[in-house]
């Protein structure tokens, strides 16, 4: 049965709609819907893979799982052409400015996925060198648990981003897409948030007391410590 056979004809035998000849060749929709439809079905991921989660991310892109089915047609290795940042793996403090710069370089609209335990919370690496959750550095839309998450979990996370996009409305544009230029390369979370985020996995202040080291950072050459109050 060909496509033309499927065309609905009215009682007078006239065909119309999209496939007809001479019929109305338009359809009406909501702008919100069509914009969100376009955005959510052409998400290009920016892979920020630093550890074993990146292996699962690669598996998700390969033929067996194939996230191209969901519109993630190609991994965009340039942040300028990416829509969703997938941070897969642990992020040390030395890499934190790199992650922040990549996020700042991505054009709006953009979303962020924190893939795996280490990116979401620091995981088992509750140590001196590790960022305790990338949400202290960049805003995160979807957290994917797992160590590492299976490709199904990543695909589910990406579909949750799609669902989030589907529920957006253009009249929220300025709220959703607002960016403070002063926030570039600044911690996203404030002190209280960072303390709260690191709390459940061990209290930093306790071990500082144990090591008999004050929590006050010395006045370094970096300056601008006014907004940081030590816990």
């Amino acid at each position: 049965m060909g496509l033309n056979d499927a065309i609905v004809q009215d009682s007078k035998g006239r065909s119309g709609g999209l496939f007809g000849d001479g019929g109305p060749t338009f359809l009406t929709t909501k702008l919100d819907f069509v914009v969100n439809w376009g955005r959510r079905n052409s998400l290009w991921p920016m892979p920020f893979g630093t550890a074993c989660c990146a292996i699962e991310m690669m598996a998700s892109a390969a033929s067996n799982f194939d996230i191209a089915r969901f519109g993630m047609e190609r991994m965009s290795f340039s942040p300028r052409q990416a829509d969703v940042l997938i941070c897969a793996g642990r992020v040390p403090y030395k890499l934190a400015p790199v992650l922040r710069r990549i996020w700042d370089q991505m054009p709006q609209p953009k979303w962020c996925i924190s893939m795996g335990a280490c990116a979401s919370s620091g995981g088992v690496f509750d140590v001196y060198s590790m960022v305790q959750g990338i949400d202290t550095i960049v805003p995160v839309d979807v957290y994917i648990p797992g160590c590492p998450p299976r490709p199904e979990a990543l695909i589910y996370g990406l579909m949750m981003v799609q669902e989030k996009i589907r529920q957006e409305s253009l009249d929220q544009h300025f709220e959703l897409r607002a960016e403070d230029p002063m926030s570039v390369a600044r911690p996203r979370a404030n002190t209280e948030e960072i303390v709260g985020l690191t709390g459940p996995f061990g209290n930093s202040t306790l071990q500082e007391e144990l090591s008999e080291v004050g929590v006050d950072a010395p006045e370094g050459p970096l300056g601008d410590a006014a907004d940081i109050t030590t816990p």
């Binding site: 509750d126 060198s129 144990l210 950072a217 370094g220």
Partner: protein, 233 residues
């Protein structure tokens, strides 16, 4: 830790603790006759060889005077009967409790197929030792790592600066036993400092120059004799 009646969850709340167990820095001395190099080393340097032991059945370890480390290692490399021409590793160990830090040289003789581990014990308040970079260029980054992680200064190193931690890392040397697991600053301060890193502070000028200009590409000269046509050697 076992004497107090904390459950695992209480211990989790209390956070990590410094280990109060001080492991012995060296075992009992062993018979040096099993290793020809150790015998020769003791004959030649006498007092400078402080201790000898065998660990893991076959690994011979000698402790030498840290002020003569370069002299001894150079002899081990250059003496034809020893010929320890391969420096497999330079690292360090901190056993905690104020015990001396150990700088470890793992040597291998490709000629005689002998292995030898040379250790130098440094007091925690005098962490300075001569560099072996003049002998092996490969020790450059290894000694930088030991400096970064333990704070041991290598005299004569051409470029002694941090290699793993950021250049302006102000919390100390992380692999020392007296270093707290989560660092010395609060997480907020660590995050702020991490994001305040900038490339100008991070790299030396020579590294920043790389990639600034398009790299010069050398195409092979068609008139030059080809590599395949050249005589071997």
């Amino acid at each position: 830790m076992s004497d107090d009646s904390l459950s695992e969850l209480d211990a989790l709340d209390a956070g990590p603790r410094a280990s109060d167990v001080v492991e012995p820095a060296a075992g009992p001395p062993s018979d040096p006759s099993g290793h020809p190099t150790v015998v020769a080393l003791m004959e030649r340097f006498g007092d400078a060889v402080l201790h000898h032991e065998v660990v893991a059945d076959e690994q011979h370890v000698v402790h030498v005077d840290p002020s003569r480390n370069v002299e001894i290692i150079r002899w081990l490399r250059d003496d034809p009967a020893q010929a320890y021409n391969h420096l497999a590793d330079v690292t360090a160990v901190d056993f905690g409790g104020g015990a001396p830090l150990q700088v470890v040289y793992q040597l291998f003789s490709l000629t005689h197929k002998h292995r030898l581990r040379v250790k130098c014990l440094l007091d925690v308040d005098a962490l300075t030792i001569d560099s072996v970079v003049p002998m092996w260029n490969g020790a450059n980054w290894l000694e930088r790592e030991v400096y970064d992680m333990f704070g041991i200064t290598f005299k004569g190193h051409p470029d002694l600066r941090r290699i793993l931690m950021p250049k302006d890392y102000a919390e100390g040397h992380p692999l020392r036993k007296d270093f707290p697991l989560r660092g010395r600053f609060s997480r907020a301060e660590q995050t702020r400092r991490a994001l305040a890193q900038d490339v100008d502070r991070f790299y030396i000028p020579a590294e920043r120059a790389v990639g600034r200009e398009p790299q010069e590409v050398h195409f092979p000269d068609p008139d030059a004799p080809s590599r395949a046509g050249r005589a071997d050697g």
